[in-house]
Symmetry: C2
Subunit: 403 residues, 2 copies
């Protein structure tokens, strides 16, 4: 029998208890062993829950119980989630988590402690909710060198952008709608400013390139400035607008960034709508492969937590495939100012002013929409794009990168 | 050092040698051991290949060489691929394969022999080419009960259907085009009549439900009867037409079938075009998850073969997660005649005749296109659909299932 302790009985924690109970027979038959939830750690009591009798308030009870071999941390926030995870690993307990903040910030240290103690630190649920992505990158793509990762990684912002596109509505109206429906939190900053996506893309970049970037050191741009006009003009050129976490290697340098980007109609990410997530990986042997599904939600995310638990039990012993990440230093980071891509520019002013600056740098027609002039540029670095835009006497209204 | 023998130096076989050579450093660093291709078995000689000196013609050399621990079978066809695989497993060698025909026909026996001999029989490359699908179903979805699997599993037919949709061209013209471009074989029967898809869907059904159906016992309908008119009318209702391998469990009965189906614009499979494959899984905890990528091709398929090789080396010992399939008997199969789904009907004749039969069984308007009458029905069993159609005095032109 394998004994598990759940830390945090919120949405994902209670979902994990539900998955383990609902599909107990199926899981135990696959593993050939029984699974027991021994403790649930939470500050609150849950007298009405069927799991209420398992709730305890002192983490030390779990830490000192040698029967507990797996700790599932689903508390959210950096502390005490990090501290409890570290203590559990040091006590030679395996830890699985859905906590992207802890993985993105303390992943290097926790993976190292896990390795030293011959246990595993696993986090399939930290990116893409229910979508299998961590394990497929680690196992299925193991014979590939990964060229780039592009992901729609945040359901809240994707829901907002989808509504803006389909209803022509303004950002603030759609945000208010999303909050009413429970798709956006009362304080939506981490989502709409791109921080949640930043944590997820540094985790995917570390899986791809072995080095964990600091999410607060990468370029992060949210969706608050996107307008209905951006959508209507982008669609005229054949693009939708998505918040994209993007990572790419340039030799031994790694680029990771978050920004709204134009996604062409024939890109598989183009049709990832509403709260769904999609992760597109370009690998040297495999080509493009995409993983799609529910990026959040109680049972999908819990399903990923339980897949890690099953993996630990099934492997029984320390898995040689355990990750070894190092912290990226500044010299590991590609220079963002030199990153080149195509862009959609929208200017307010005379077409001739825009043409005079960008004539040699466009890939399509200059199109006029009322007093606005829009076009798709060829590849320009961040630096070039900004200098050219400021050299133009027409007023820059919008500049959106293409994926 | 791990020694590998490659059986069959065709497209996938030579691709596997290429992946193992091209990404040798990366793979060996991950595994902490070196990999050596010791033999390549083929009837031909390859004097111009960098691997030409490894070519041998006698399988017994491989079988009797105790240094060879992994045999990669990429010969195609049932024999001698099955015989060599069986002999290798009995000699306690791990076998990986891209051969869907062998897996779909002899999978139960070969998995059993592998288990008995404490080695593994693996076939990630047999379905979806480069797309990770076998391992994700087995590992990542392990906490889920799978409700259904719907897949675009054959690149040739998807290329033909995509061209028919975009160019309004006829089946035979597009097939000829595809053959010229090398996307369809000179003898395309296995693809266009759905047999290739049938083999793949029984493999996915066995992974989902543990029982291997005989691909020649399931309902299989190809794409040869689809017309340009079907496409144009389907698009008026918001659907594209795709060749779908479909499997679903009904209690302890399993349904697997292959047929062209109407896929609605908001279904993630709707936009899987050209030679790409997509597999959509509906699981009880996870909800819908889709895997997308290149379903064929030298390096993508080889990449899947090598991911199995890496898995075997990494696990080092017999993996308890090894599959145990049983052969499905007729009583395990759901009754296809009772399978219910919505359908698009196209009749040639009077609208009033069609209305009189189907009035209570439609979910949208009856639409007229010249002298044709088309509509989308509500859920009808195979039996009901056929009886109603034959009760109608207008002539049935087309009846296509919705997904």
């Amino acid at each position: 029998m394998v004994n598990i302790a759940i830390l945090g009985f919120g949405v994902v924690g209670s979902g994990t208890a539900e998955v383990l109970t609902e599909n107990k027979k199926l899981i135990e038959a696959k593993l050939g062993t029984s699974i027991n939830i021994k403790y649930i750690l939470d500050l609150r009591e849950f007298p009405d829950s069927p799991f209420g009798h398992l709730v305890i308030h002192d983490f030390n009870t779990i830490l000192q119980d040698e029967e507990v071999s797996i700790v599932a941390e689903m508390m959210g926030g950096a502390h005490p989630a990090y501290d409890f995870s570290k203590a559990a690993l040091e006590a030679k307990k395996n830890v699985v988590t859905s906590n992207k903040e802890v993985v993105a910030t303390f992943g290097v240290e926790l993976l190292e402690i896990a390795k030293k103690n011959n246990v595993r630190y696993m986090f399939e649920a930290s990116v893409g909710g229910g979508i299998p992505i961590i394990r497929p990158i680690q196992n299925d793509l193991a014979s590939n060198s990964i060229k780039s990762v592009s992901g729609i990684l945040n359901g809240t912002t994707n829901y907002i952008l989808t509504k803006m596109a389909s209803e022509g509505a303004d950002f603030s109206d759609v945000l208010a709608q999303a909050q009413k429906k429970g798709y956006a939190e009362a304080n939506p900053t981490a989502d709409i400013e791109g921080l949640d996506t930043a944590r997820k893309i540094v985790i995917l970049a570390a899986l791809s390139y072995g080095k964990l970037l600091n999410p607060s050191h990468i370029y992060v741009e949210g969706i608050t400035k996107i307008t209905g006009e951006d959508f209507s003009i982008a669609s005229k050129f054949g693009y939708s607008i998505k918040l994209i976490g993007y990572s790419k290697s340039f030799g031994d340098k790694i680029l990771a960034m978050v920004s709204p980007r134009l996604v062409r109609f024939d890109n598989p990410l183009h049709n990832i709508n509403d709260v769904f997530n999609g992760i597109l990986i370009d690998a040297d042997m495999l080509g493009e492969v995409m993983f799609y599904g529910r990026g959040a939600g109680k049972l999908p995310t819990a399903s990923s937590v339980v897949s890690d638990i099953i993996d630990i039990i099934d492997a029984k012993k320390y898995n040689s495939k355990a990750l070894g990440w190092t912290s990226a230093s500044d010299s590991d980071m590609a220079d963002f100012e030199k990153y080149s891509c195509r862009r959609m520019f929208i200017f307010d002013g005379n077409k001739s002013d825009v043409v005079s600056v960008f004539e040699g740098h466009r890939t399509g027609e200059f199109k006029e929409f009322g007093n606005k002039v829009a076009f798709i540029s060829d590849e320009l670095s961040e630096f070039e794009a900004k200098s050219k835009a400021s050299a133009c006497s027409a007023k820059l209204v919008s500049m959106l990168r293409l994926l």
